[in-house]
Subunit: 234 residues, 2 copies
DNA sequence: TCTATAATTTGAACACTGTTCACAGTATAG
DNA sequence: CTATACTGTGAACAGTGTTCAAATTATAGA
């Protein structure tokens, strides 16, 4: 029977552990994520950490959940500060925030969208919800644009492969998402396209070819919205 | 002064080491890449391996170069076996081979396009050439389609950001690539778009949403070529 | 306030990891 | 046949995640 007070302190130490972990990751990359190094950082013995996290994997999972939520926060913030609610500018702001967050938090991004720790596989039932949170920001804006008519799915993105549409429909009904299959589809299309650029930039595969990745990315965001069927200019 | 005969045997052992490494990776993921495990596998002491590879990183680099070349082989093979040289079907075949190779060689793919080993960073001067080899297959086909008029860059992909075009032009001249900046640009656009899908599929981020990733990917390949400005139907 | 109980920290141990180095054995070349 | 270069050995070092009993500390109830 853990009392209120005890539980609060436990949570405090857990936070301290995570902060030390993030500090080490920022310095030495995802390679710096060592249980013993964390213990050293906060003046504890390695074994002591096991009272707060069952294993290093559990700690990583906690960091991943935090990272997904931080990304979602960044996307939501971009949506709020962007000019004109319901405008396409809001969507471009969010899509650009996606890359900006990735580039300013490379280790966190690798943690969630790469496979940075050998032997570790994230438990989906824990990590999926915060993923949805971030993705919902994009899909929500697309849904708005579709409903206001600013966006009208244009060929070839106006047709959804039947197998895919069925799955999306199931997902929407099962989890009660307030969006259309169309918005979800366009969201996935956009997400995958831009994610590829970020992933290649992150590991330095595209910069040597394209040079200025930022301009390329911005251009691709606009090209994406145009091909998806945006009616207004950006 | 290493003689012919000696060098040949060295190369044989090096191959044996790499094969053991690939076997372990296939079984235990990139996590299985342990110098000591490899040594065990081929009945050697860990220290013995240092006569063939200066360090684990050197071995990883060798595996990466092999993987990039294997990927390039797969793309070239897809190009050769596809019906109708110079046709768009050839390009779709190659683009689909890209994903197929990734999915049938997940550890190799993670090795080259992720950052699977903590603390390891690939030396670009060694890894870039085989990257170019694979990429050239795609860009070469695009160049063909552009010249034969089957592909005519359509809005919005008919304009190249000036900063990007300048860089591409420099690259073409410096390395003597027999392609246009336009082909290179469209190649990068397509590459990044599809790479995003593969990357998200690899780490199981997209399958839960979209269900049948294969159909989604095939649809996106076709959508890509259409938006890039393909004149003929697929 | 004192005590019984729960929470926390300790320290040692185990089985791993990559890497270095002097040494012994083996094959090669002159 | 011998001197030399090559190859593998074995021990050691510093690091890793993890487990467990013991010791310490803090909490809660009387």
């Amino acid at each position: 029977m853990p009392s209120e007070r005890v539980e609060q302190r436990r949570e405090g130490v857990r936070e301290e552990i995570k902060q030390a972990a993030r500090r080490l990751m920022a310095e030495h990359g995802t390679a710096g994520l060592s249980l013993r190094a964390i213990a050293r950082e906060i003046n504890m013995l390695p074994s002591g950490l096991y009272h707060y996290y069952g294993s290093l994997d559990d700690l990583i999972t906690a960091l991943i959940v935090d990272a997904f939520n931080a990304l979602a926060d960044a996307l939501e913030a971009a949506r709020e500060t962007a000019a004109g609610p319901g405008s396409a500018a809001q969507l471009t702001a969010v899509l650009e925030a996606y890359r900006r967050w990735a580039m300013t938090h490379p280790t966190d991004f690798q943690l969630i969208y790469g496979n940075p720790i050998p032997g570790y596989a994230a438990p989906r039932e824990i990590t999926v919800p915060p993923v949805i949170r971030g993705f919902s920001v994009i899909v929500g804006l697309i849904e708005n644009l579709l409903q206001s008519g600013v966006l009208e799915a244009a060929p070839p993105y106006d047709v959804i492969p039947p197998e895919v549409e069925a799955r999306l429909q199931t997902l929407i009904e099962r989890d009660g998402y307030p969006v259309s299959a169309r918005a979800l589809f366009l969201g996935v299309v956009g997400w995958t396209q831009l994610h590829g650029i970020i992933m290649l930039e992150m590991f330095n595969h595209i910069q040597p070819v394209i040079g200025d990745v930022e301009t390329f990315y911005r251009a691709q965001v606009i090209n994406l919205l145009k091909t998806l069927g945006l009616k207004t200019a950006i």
